[in-house]
């Protein structure tokens, strides 16, 4: 049954190296140091000094914190449901780290694609695994068997379910534009033809394609805001809302178990930033097609390293943005949060899909058929019905419809 010869040891080794390199040597240290950055930036904003004693500028502080978490007494309160109480921190941490499997963190290095799993369902995989991370919080709230954590857990459930919808809907316009769901190919396309949010070179300048930046910008706003809600960051950190719920779902936790919740939150934030960078800001690519190579061609060693560096730099900038927002905006009230999710973002995301379809139709049809004529005629009925058809169906099914758009676009 177990045929060892059939297992390709080389590819297994390469995958293991990528996993260790990305997850354990990149994301986990980034988690530790984004906590440090958070404390330093918040100190800067509030005119304090922040942790600056351990090592130069406090750079060894995360290591000291880690040691403290591990050495502290691991206290389990008597009234908790023990099994689930232990399971919850792990369930928060693991899905957050698993989602990085499909993120392309570089172009190629030694002819090897810099992504752990090159799936054709990349963004869906991220959403699927990220949707599992709510269990950790819910379980923590329930297993703690006390009132404040329970309220935190209940809030987390409804908040995450609500914002998952606008998060999913907000990226559909991008898939309509790119025509497929492979994150590696999406980044390659952006490297050659302009980032989604910065269409200043390649194909995006031709044939009115730059019009697409309008829906992409709306998508970006909805996506990033929903990301704040999904990762429970201020201004949407209602599940742990210190002023109302002590510390929310992790009130009863201490030592390393508490640290795991913390790490999970920051890991989710880093991977969310990575996804936003990949979808909207060109992933590993430099602007204006610098150091960009055609798909499948040889990438020199140092270009590969630069690409990895560029990706990490973009992610770091995004994390700093997360931190600055946290210390700038006040917390929303719970009903405001729900209203924002269901009444505004849900509708905006849906309307945005229609806008994207209309613009794609304009770009592929009227605007480019006769170069001089302005598109004054109303939408043909057939077109409207095909867009409505898209609206009521499963989000992913739109892909087919729009990939035909792209084929048409390239044939013009």
């Amino acid at each position: 049954m177990l045929n060892l010869a059939a297992i390709d040891l080389v590819s297994l080794g390469i995958s293991t190296a990528k996993i260790i390199g990305l997850v354990f040597l990149t994301i986990l240290p980034m988690v530790a140091y984004s906590v440090w950055a958070e404390r330093r930036v918040s100190a800067l904003i509030q005119d304090r000094i922040g942790p600056n004693r351990v090592g130069w500028a406090g750079l060894l502080q995360p290591i000291a914190d880690g040691l403290k978490f591990i050495l502290k007494e691991d206290f389990t309160p008597k009234h908790v449901r023990t099994g689930y109480y232990w399971l919850a921190p792990a369930l928060t941490m693991v899905p957050a780290l698993m989602t990085c499997a499909v993120l392309p963190f570089g172009s190629t290095l030694f002819g090897e694609k810099m992504v752990i799993a090159d799936l054709d369902v990349g963004p869906l995989f991220v959403f699927a695994i990220a949707s599992l991370s709510v269990y950790g919080i819910v379980l923590a709230g329930w297993a703690s068997n006390s009132k404040y954590p329970f309220l935190g857990g209940v809030r987390a459930t409804s908040q995450m379910i609500s914002y998952e919808i606008s998060l999913g809907l907000s990226v559909i316009p991008l898939f309509m534009i790119y025509g497929h769901l492979n994150l590696g190919k999406i980044v390659q396309y952006q490297a050659e033809n302009g980032w989604a949010l910065l269409p200043l070179w390649g194909e995006s300048l031709q044939n009115w394609n730059w019009l697409l930046v309008i829906p992409v910008f709306i998508s970006f706003i909805v996506f990033v805001t929903s990301m704040f809600a999904e990762t429970n960051r201020l201004p949407f950190d209602l599940p742990e809302c210190e002023t109302e719920l002590v510390a929310g779902y992790h009130t009863e936790y201490s030592s390393m178990k508490f640290a795991l919740f913390f790490l999970g939150e920051y890991a989710a934030m880093i991977i969310g930033s990575g996804l936003a960078v990949t979808l909207f800001l060109g992933g590993w690519s430099l602007p204006f097609g610098w150091l960009t190579h055609a798909a499948g061609s040889d990438v020199p060693f140092w270009h590969g390293l630069v690409h990895i560096g560029v990706f990490l730099a973009k992610v770091v900038v995004f994390i700093l943005f997360f931190i600055v927002v946290r210390w700038t905006l006040p917390r929303f009230r719970y009903d405001q949060l729900m209203r924002l999710g269901w009444v505004f973002f849900f509708e905006i995301a849906l309307a945005n899909i229609v806008i994207t379809a209309l613009i794609l139709w304009l770009v592929t049809g009227p605007l480019n058929k006769e170069e001089t004529e302005a598109p004054a005629e109303p939408t043909p009925a057939a077109q409207v019905s095909s867009i409505e058809q898209g609206m009521f169906d499963e989000p992913t099914l739109l892909v087919r419809e729009t990939s035909t758009f792209r084929i048409q676009a390239s044939s013009f």
């Binding site: 297992i7 869906l124 949707s131 599992l132 819910v138 995450m160 379910i161 009521f392 990939s403």
Partner: protein, 166 residues
Amino acid sequence: MTFLFYIFAAIAVIGGIGVVVYKNPVSSAFAMILSFLGLAAIFIQLDAYLVGILQILVYAGAIMVLFLFIIMLMDVKEEEGKTFKFGAIVGAVLVVGGFTGALVKVLMESKIGNETIPALAEGGKSDVHEIGELLFSTYWFPIQIIGVLLLVATVGVILLSRKELK
């Protein structure tokens, strides 16, 4: 990679048994999630990435969260004290055995059980593209009908859940 299939199949079956055996509703719900994850892994092994991912996204990630939410909110305790009755066990075994037998017989005799479905062409369209193409060409009408049905159900639920009907 047959051994992976056995691992995931075992996870799915153990989860399925757990749903029935656990008396605590929360434990049952988690066993069900485990079972869904095992199933999703088997789908992905068959190169049906979209089906596998949707299994996690829709069932494990959305529907079971709501289940769990309701269980926790209601704080269901009635089930915990219950013991299994002899008659119920015999009935369950008979029903499950009957269905399994019927399924095995159908699979042995029909061509589904004896024919290997051709794999997706290497380097061709992904399964997402194939499914999307079918849904928007061959099956566009059923999709519309299902969409309308779900819309009606949603409107109905909103109407029914209002406290005072006018």
